[in-house]
């Protein structure tokens, strides 16, 4: 019971990182049907931004988090503008390869500029471990969980309540119709990239605090995992991405806890395949059947 509780907490912390990342995948996919392969690398950029502003400018946690979000939002918008926008009417597989190219560029550009070495993330918050009911919970875990949940609620409010959020939903359903009612497609897509990338930037800072170590390739694996999480939840669905993220995190720590850590990724992929076979569009995804 105790280990179960412990794993639950670890799984939720990891899952909230996946969830933050999965949100970016799901929003971008929902709006332009692109698997933004470079999304994991934006998260890496967020972590590096945090590293430099804490070390160089002595930012505190809140300032670091906010500035990383703004920085990543700008990067996300620029990437969309230069690399994806020219391909908006091209075959989708072309845009996917371009996204892979952008991912390579960010990874190798960062390696070139800052070397491939891992570096330890400055501890802007001293770690305090609480012992509650025999469970070890660190303040970092609570902060990760709290920040992630807060950001998800804010995101939900932005999407549901603001004009821009409504435009996003309209474009996701039918870009042509949205344009007819006067929605600016380019602005809406830029806004989506900004939101998604800001979430990734926040996740980057949080993971720096949690794992203490960052490097230019750190975005690859979590990026793919988060995409898997978004697909499990039903890609295009915002609540789906959160749910998928938490599920993936819990699954991973759960498998690790029963001593099968070598197979943790295999189990995640297996669950992904099974879920897709039962629900071909993920848990919250809508399946569209073509009308003949």
């Amino acid at each position: 019971m105790q280990t179960f509780g412990q794993q639950l907490i670890n799984g939720l912390s990891l899952g909230s990182i996946y969830a933050l990342l999965a949100l970016g995948y799901t929003m971008v996919y929902g709006i332009i049907k692109l698997i933004n392969f470079a999304h994991g690398d934006i998260y890496m950029l967020g972590a590096f931004w945090g590293y430099y502003v804490i070390n160089g400018l002595h930012f505190n946690f809140i300032l670091t988090l906010l500035s990383a979000m703004i920085f990543c939002a700008i990067i996300g918008v620029l990437i969309e503008y230069f690399a994806y926008r020219p391909l908006r009417n091209s075959p989708r597989i072309t845009a996917l390869i371009t996204a892979i190219g952008v991912s390579f560029l960010l990874e190798n550009g960062m390696t070139y500029l800052f070397s491939a070495n891992a570096r330890s993330f400055p501890q802007v918050l001293p770690t305090i471990t609480y012992h509650v009911l025999g469970l070890r919970i660190s303040n970092i875990q609570l902060i990760i969980l709290g920040t992630a949940c807060l950001l998800m609620i804010l995101l939900e409010l932005v999407i549901k309540q603001t004009k821009m959020g409504k435009a996003m939903r309209a474009v996701a359903v039918d870009p042509q119709a949205a344009q007819l009612v006067g929605i600016n497609l380019n602005h809406t897509i830029s806004f989506t990239f900004a939101l998604g990338s800001a979430m990734a930037g926040a996740a980057g800072v949080l993971i720096g605090l949690y794992y203490n170590s960052i490097d230019p390739l750190m975005g690859m694996t979590p990026g793919i995992k988060a995409f898997v999480a978004a697909v499990i939840g039903g890609i295009g669905s915002v609540p789906g991405a959160s749910l998928g993220g938490f599920l993936t995190g819990l699954l991973e720590t759960g498998v690790q806890a029963i001593g099968l850590s070598a197979y943790k990724d295999a189990v995640v992929y297996f669950v992904l395949i099974v879920i897709l076979l039962v629900l071909p569009a993920g848990i919250f995804g809508k399946k569209l059947k073509e009308k003949v």
Binding site: T98, G101, T111, I273, L277
Partner: protein
């Protein structure tokens, strides 16, 4: 019938000519081991990408798990030839690899090929990762360390001949009633079904065929490079094959050849650029996609038949 013979002979002559050319360059020392390595890599990539192009470009199924089937071929060769270090052992291992890869493709394909588009891509990617993780944990595959000292049982000539063979088989497949059924599935599944085409079956045929050729690529890779590890067959490896297919033009086998050669040459040239290499490579990739969204050749295909027909037409017009 006679005309067919003529075109087949033209292709044969081309293949022999390229072989002789490479052989002569080897003989006169123009090709050093560095260049030979490049040529072999290009050859293996062509085998892998042609099979993936059959799946993506012709049957229209977006698979992102090609490296998983390649891994099966590589490990079959690695394990078997360490025990039977003869050319016969190599071919035996290749056949075993093909058979296992095809069975694996059936197991993966039967459930997943009912998914569409990106969902299929992510499911096949997951399946390939499962294969890799299993290899990573098995004793017989030597876990994460992989296999070393695999006997060097193939030369560039083996790779060249097998590249020609798999290409011939794939192209012949595409231009047969099977290939047309497979393309019908790509074009319109609903219409294909209404014409009595069993879409599930034909998707599976293309998928399993592609997996078989991927295993051949894997076998050659293991026997030529002599060292393999599970990490060589990760998602990035599948993506590298996908890049060749898309860069050349989805649905163009000629394009696959061109892209594999261009990327192979680019990679070799960029070796001198050190750490800048991957940056230039990724920029090249982005720029080619932006300026040539349909790939280098679109779906254009070189054909001796069309060449001679257009020449005839030209003389008529003169």
């Amino acid at each position: 019938m006679k005309a067919n013979l003529k075109y087949n002979l033209a292709w044969l002559a081309l293949m022999v000519a390229v072989f002789v050319l490479i052989d002569a360059c080897e003989f006169f020392g123009i090709i050093n081991s560095f260049i030979e390595n490049m040529l072999v890599t290009i050859g293996i990539n062509i085998i892998l990408a042609t099979g993936l192009n059959l799946i993506i470009g012709f049957s229209g199924q977006f698979s992102l798990g090609h490296a998983g089937f390649m891994a099966i071929g590589a490990y079959a060769t690695g394990i078997i030839t360490q025990n039977i270090a003869t050319p016969l052992g190599f071919y035996l291992s290749m056949v075993v690899g093909i058979a296992i890869a095809m069975v694996a493709a059936l197991i993966v394909g039967i459930p997943t090929l009912r998914l569409h588009g990106d969902y299929l891509a992510i499911a096949t990617m997951g399946a390939a990762e499962i294969i890799r993780i299993l290899i990573n944990n098995f004793k017989i595959t030597n876990g994460a360390a992989g296999l070393f000292n695999i006997p060097p049982l193939v030369t560039w000539a083996t790779v060249y001949v097998l590249m020609c063979l798999t290409t011939i088989m794939t192209v012949n497949f595409i231009h047969s009633r099977r290939g047309r059924a497979v393309m019908a599935v790509r074009e319109d599944e609903i219409a294909a079904e209404a014409m009595g085409i069993n879409t599930t079956r034909w998707k599976l045929v293309a998928f399993v065929f592609g997996a078989g050729t991927a295993a051949i690529g894997g076998s050659l890779h293991a026997a030529y490079i002599q060292t393999i590890a599970p990490g060589d067959f990760n998602i990035m490896a599948s993506i590298a094959i996908l890049i060749i297919v898309v860069l050349g033009g989805v649905g163009s086998i000629t394009g696959t050849f061109v892209a594999a050669i261009v990327l192979g040459a680019l990679d070799t040239i960029l070796q001198n650029f050190g750490t800048l290499r991957m940056i230039i490579y990724s920029l090249a990739l982005i720029l080619i996609m932006i300026f040539k969204p349909a790939g280098l050749l679109g779906n254009w295909e070189f054909s001796f038949k069309r060449l001679s027909q257009s020449r005839k037409k030209a003389t008529v017009h003169d």
